[in-house]
Amino acid sequence: MISVQDVSFAVDGARILNGVSVDIPNGGITALIGPNGAGKSTLLSLMSRLQKLQVGTIRVDDLEVGVCAHDVLAKRLAILGQSAEVTQRLTVRQLVTFGRYPHHRGRPTEADHAAVAEALAEFDLTTFGERMLDSLSGGQRQRALVAMIFAQDTPYMLLDEPLNNLDIAASRHLMQRLRHLADERGRTIVIVLHDINYAASYADWIIAMKEGRIVRFGAPEDVITSDTIQSVFETDADVKTVEGRRVVVV
């Protein structure tokens, strides 16, 4: 369980997070939604120590973020940030092998190579293994990055808007893979999503944020309602139920 307690965060005096407390349950996909500037990405980056905590505590099971040694936490929790752009010339296989670094510390063993092959297969990248990253499409590159943090083999995976700039096919493919990881491999996935319909279709839990606070937390059918959309996003979109799933009419 990722346990966030009384976390506040400010940049140059501007409040980004205001006393956020939440327990993210183990297993399944938890989606963070909310308007731009609600503090979703900040919360995620604090959980994953990409930014330093100012006020409050965050625990990943028994490990406290900011106190726990970096290499220990790297085996517990993996993060894919929004601006994960690799400037180096790497093949897909080399990138995914870096995901095993917390385990091999620079000297990949047979077991690491096997885990890399498994990650490539899991994300349909086996045929791309020797391709250079910069020769891939945006969707394939994003898949390679997710494959890398999957290979890291951590119980928790945090993803910040991984669907950015992906078309519908690539987005659905990636979400289906994540769904599969949560269901078949018991990974706990926390994901920031902009498109509420993806959150409603694929997530088990939804955390709605507004102005640095958590305003709703629950199952999609409880959170995604016309009222919530109105109060959180301040727009009057209709919410319909299609085959048991909530769909926001845009």
Partner: protein
């Protein structure tokens, strides 16, 4: 594949070293061996320092155009030396043992570099263009301050500084070798021990943090190593503008590997081949008609242009 390339580069460097030692050997070996041997050792130290410093710098900034010399590291070294002469007088500086002058200048450079570039990297690490521009302006500032002080100084004292301000491969400060060699070796060993962590740092701050290598403490460590290595090469032969860029760009093309366990030795071997090979041709073939630094800069500029025009990612 990188292994075979490394072996080929090692052979090339060895050929350059053997030619440097044996070509046109007219004096007895009892004289030649220590005479040429000392200069060879200095060239190898300088070559390895510059290539390693440049590679490390490009790794912590995730950028393949920046070099310590573009960011003004060596200009800062010359400025510190000039300040010493300006305030203490050349007589006082010359009377001190050169090893001590070197140690003090090197120590000051490490402190100044940590202060300036450490703060700069910390505040603007994400804004690359600001980083490059600030670095270039720092370089210009250090050079202008140096030439300003040099103009105010007594002409006799100016001669002392002038020697330090220009690259000189023929007149290497071999007195300093006793102290520069062990310092360089220590810095190189420390860099080598970090080789696997450096691979991860090169992926950028977010991915490095995710993989358990916090970039910030590593950046400080590496900055200290860079400052020490730049001090060594600048003290021994003066500032060399284009060598680092030339050598490291060529290395990326010759040994396309993301791993520092390949890149560090490869860059050092390319650097040794260029410096020792170039010096051999100049000393033995062209009887010292042109300074090596001019040729290195011309070659460096040409390779740089070639890389850009070919559309290679640099």
């Amino acid at each position: 594949m990188p292994r075979n390339r490394l072996i080929a580069l090692a052979c090339l460097a060895a050929v350059c070293v053997v030619l440097y030692m044996t070509l046109a050997a007219r004096a007895p070996w009892s004289f030649l061996l220590p005479f040429r041997g000392t200069k060879l050792l200095a060239l190898i130290l300088v070559a390895t320092s510059i290539s390693t410093a440049t590679l490390l710098f490009q790794t912590i900034t995730q950028n393949r155009i920046l070099t310590p010399s573009i960011m003004g590291f060596d200009a800062l070294y010359v400025l510190i030396f000039t300040l010493a002469v300006f305030f203490l007088g050349s007589q006082a500086v010359m009377r001190l043992p050169p090893q001590m002058v070197f140690l003090v200048t090197c120590g000051t450079l490490v402190l100044a570099a940590l202060l300036l570039f450490g703060l700069l990297l910390r505040r603007n690490a994400k804004d690359l263009f600001q980083l490059i521009l600030t670095g270039i302006i720092f370089g210009v500032l250090f050079r202008s301050l140096t030439s300003f002080l040099q103009r105010m100084i007594d002409p006799n004292e100016f001669a002392t500084i002038q020697v330090a301000s220009y690259a000189r491969f023929n007149d290497i400060e071999t007195d300093l070798l006793i102290i520069a060699a062990p310092i360089t070796v220590i810095a190189l060993v420390l860099a080598w021990r970090r080789r696997d962590a450096l691979d991860v740092i090169a992926l950028g701050p977010d991915l490095a943090t995710n993989l358990g290598e916090p970039p910030l403490p590593r950046q400080w460590e590496v900055l200290i190593l860079i400052a020490v290595l730049v001090s060594v090469s600048t003290a021994l032969v003066g500032p060399v503008a284009f060598l680092g860029l030339l050598v490291v760009s060529v290395t990326y093309v010759l040994v396309p590997s993301p791993h520092h366990r390949h890149l560090l030795p490869a860059a050092a071997l390319v650097s040794i081949s260029v410096l020792v090979g170039g010096q051999t041709i100049l000393e033995r073939g062209l009887s010292l008609s042109t300074p090596l630094s001019v040729i290195v800069d011309v070659l460096g500029g040409a390779v740089f242009l070639f890389l850009i025009l070919k559309g290679k990612r640099i």
